[in-house]
Symmetry: C2
Subunit: 480 residues, 2 copies
């Protein structure tokens, strides 16, 4: 089906129109942000390259760089893409492959094939990028360079032999395109809705699968299978976190040194944080539930404290509201419930000032999500800076919400020895803790409830469709 | 379970003894290969590092570098490993992580924990590699540098700040350790047997799953699910190739630009080449079968030509036999059957001289397999060089078989337009082709039968356990 990306007949069709719209929005924004920008200027992005596993001839399955996906939707490695800032005329540069490669790769697409497939205006070979650009004599070539505020890594600007002969701007594009990515278009929203639905269904399948004696990685395998076989999602958006028992308090559990290899036991809480990826677009969902499908009284206290925090945010989130305030609201709600539950004592506002919220939830309320799971645009220069107060410094953005933003809402409550020990030793914090209750919850693990939520004109829409209340979870897990 | 790698209770337990034995074999071989090697010399390897997806904070799931796995079995990134050549005393250097990381990674292992986990003699921090080595004043540090003959890439030698103060040898280790990896130890053989069994079972599940209307990627998902959920294999050894219909003739189908997204149709042949990976050790199995479970007469001709080739090799493979001769035997057997089947005419030996074998099978008979799917040791300096005759140049090794080698046997027959067109135009080749028969097979795709086979003292043992004859395949696919 030319002009669309679609994995299978039952999976979402992404129209190449979406990328054309993304190009138009970005060019328009670049013109607005760059007074005096000259006609004949172009934007040039370089796509990702194949990566080999060390010195072997095994490649990782190629995943396209996100900015390149945003503007072109191209799934092949080794490309460049160019857009005229004023006319939006689009040029795709594709690798020139030896005829022989057909034996290994299948029929090689012609330039005309690429033009149809990606609905661009011109296609050239990547080794022609210098000569094709030179023949157009662009006033300025805008390339992408800037710091990812989640990783601290730098987006690498497009480069080719001879680029130093051109007038290249490394500064203007990055904040503009990152800002464009923050507000999702209607077509992007439908992709995000799809991948969130697939991920929700996969989580539901996992909840029915688990029981005493199952290994954590089995749950991961069940999630991956549904996402791919049913949803056409070959990748997940991040390494699956499938913590059970005390592992459910390890925020990035599931990495190679802790590879989801514990056996689920009766009485364990499970915290499974997994999200599929479709066409480069991410889901990021966490479900927390008891391994055996029935909450204990203690599990219910913690779970409902987190659920109340999540509900308060879903109720309050709307354009104009500060994300920092949403974080505060979630944390306050949770601490209030923990106080009612007998774990804490004292005034919630004082607890917040003492940073008790960061003891139980050492991460931010959520993050922007889109083509990256921790999506770009959190701390651009026009945005409020990262907060410095205790319990707020892990926030991945601090800006007011706007319609079209897509965010995770993911309050959590964890019993992490190192943080509890520090708090118990700190007189400013220990006065709020009820030691015997805290002791009872050592080894409990943690609870996180994470939804993917679109900010709308009047509020928000939760794309995540999984059992969330204690009653819903128990009913779902006990049904066959 | 300290001293073992095991993913789950039903999966294979790899004893750390295996790595100790690998170290001892390698040190012994290094001494033998290096006359005058000085006491106090050490081998130093550097393990892999985490890799991020572009500039984001998403990491690929870490996979350890194969030589490092071979000597140490360590699954964490960021390590060094050192072995005293004469005493075999082993030192592991692990990253020094900030206490805070416990929140994200789980309880940080102490040096004592690492010592128990990997059964090494000493553990230090990676930032101490310079000072610890300096305190021992090693005569020579042997590091690993050499070219991978499958990828053409260079294994990167261990490096650390201050290494230039030491006496470092970059040449001696590579051929020695690569040669050690060629001959599998009894413990390695048990790992390979396990991962081959898991992969065989996963293929069998796929064969039962497929039918008209299923997408190729669904088959991939079913394979991945079994390998991981049942077998504990989080990774596959290479990108799954799930070609159906004409895609079954594309040797590296399944890559990002051809991502197993065709729908299987009645009458298609399927060629599914997939292998799980356990503890770093690879399987590599191809099953070919009709999508609907019943061979047509034409499918049977091609399938049985390939099966006869495979059977001839399994019958003949034993120590002392040249792999080049095995390739010749397979190709001759296949061409003979294609002649009987009405596709070719003339004398098989003349066909071989004209390179007709390379028209139908443009790849080698198989390759060494172990920690890498295309394992090391194919063209070391003491080995016969890559053959130059037509139809033989793709061989990944040319050395005589030895007991303890582990190889794939993977004859194939494909109808690839570009190769058929060239052959039909070449008078030296076209005289053997029966054009109307060749025309009938255009779009047929291809057949490959690939087994993972251990060379034993007296012959070989096939670790791959899947239905192979036409009757076995039809019976398996029709049973419920």
């Amino acid at each position: 089906m030319s002009g669309y990306f679609r994995m299978g007949p039952e999976t979402h069709a992404i129209s190449m129109e979406m990328y054309r719209e993304n190009r138009e929005r970005t060019m328009k924004a670049l013109k607005t942000a760059t007074p005096g920008i000259k006609e004949g200027s172009v934007v040039l992005l370089q796509g990702g390259q194949d990566k080999s596993l060390y010195d072997t001839d095994v490649d990782y399955v190629f995943r396209q760089e996100s900015y390149f996906t945003y503007l072109f939707g191209v799934t092949e490695p080794g490309c460049y893409g160019c857009v005229d800032v004023f006319t939006c005329r689009s040029l795709l540069f594709v690798p020139r492959l030896p005829e022989e490669y057909a034996v290994w790769m299948g029929r090689l697409l012609t330039k005309e094939d690429f033009k149809l497939k990606y609905q661009v205006d011109e296609v050239h070979y990547a080794d022609e990028v210098n000569t094709v650009l030179a023949s157009r004599n662009p006033a300025v070539i805008y390339v992408l360079k800037g710091k990812n505020s989640d990783s601290g890594l730098i987006a690498q600007p497009a480069d080719f032999e001879g680029i130093d002969k051109f007038n290249v701007d490394y500064d203007a594009l990055f904040p503009v395109i990152a800002e464009c990515r923050v507000i999702k278009s209607p077509k992007e929203i439908e992709v995000l809705r799809y991948v969130c639905k697939v991920s929700s269904d996969a989580h539901k399948k996992v909840m029915k699968y688990v029981r005493d004696g199952v290994s954590e990685y089995e749950a991961e395998a069940v999630f991956l299978e549904h996402s791919y076989r049913v949803g056409g999602c070959r990748h997940v958006s991040y390494t699956c976190i499938c913590g059970s028992g005390e592992n459910s308090a390890i925020l990035h559990y599931g990495h190679a040194a802790a590879p989801n290899d514990k056996i689920l036991r009766d009485g364990d809480m499970c915290l499974f944080d997994m999200g599929a990826n479709y066409g480069g677009y991410a889901a990021d969902i966490t479900c927390s539930f008891p391994a055996n499908g029935r909450f204990t009284a203690d599990q219910k206290i913690i779970y409902e404290a987190v659920l109340d925090a999540r509900n308060a945010v879903l109720e309050a989130a709307r354009p104009g509201v500060s994300w920092v305030e949403m974080h505060r609201l979630a944390n306050r709600t949770m601490l209030k419930k923990l106080t009612e539950g007998g774990l804490l004592k004292g005034d919630v506002d004082e607890m917040m000032r003492a940073g008790i919220n960061g003891v139980f939830q050492p991460h931010g309320l959520g993050h922007l999500i889109g083509l990256d799971v921790h999506d770009v645009g959190g701390y651009l220069s026009h945005c409020p800076p990262r907060p410095t107060e205790p319990g707020f410094k892990s926030l991945r953005f601090a800006r007011p919400l706007q319609a079209g933003m897509y965010v995770t809402v993911e309050p959590g409550c964890y019993f992490i020895d190192i943080l509890l020990d520090r708090a118990l030793k700190d007189p400013q914090q220990s006065r709020f803790l009820i030691p015997e209750a805290i002791a009872r919850f050592r080894g409990f693990g943690g609870v996180r409830i994470e939804d993917d939520v679109l900010i709308t004109e009047n509020g928000c829409e939760n794309f995540t469709k999984v059992p969330r209340t204690v009653a819903e979870i128990e009913a779902w897990m006990s049904s066959k």
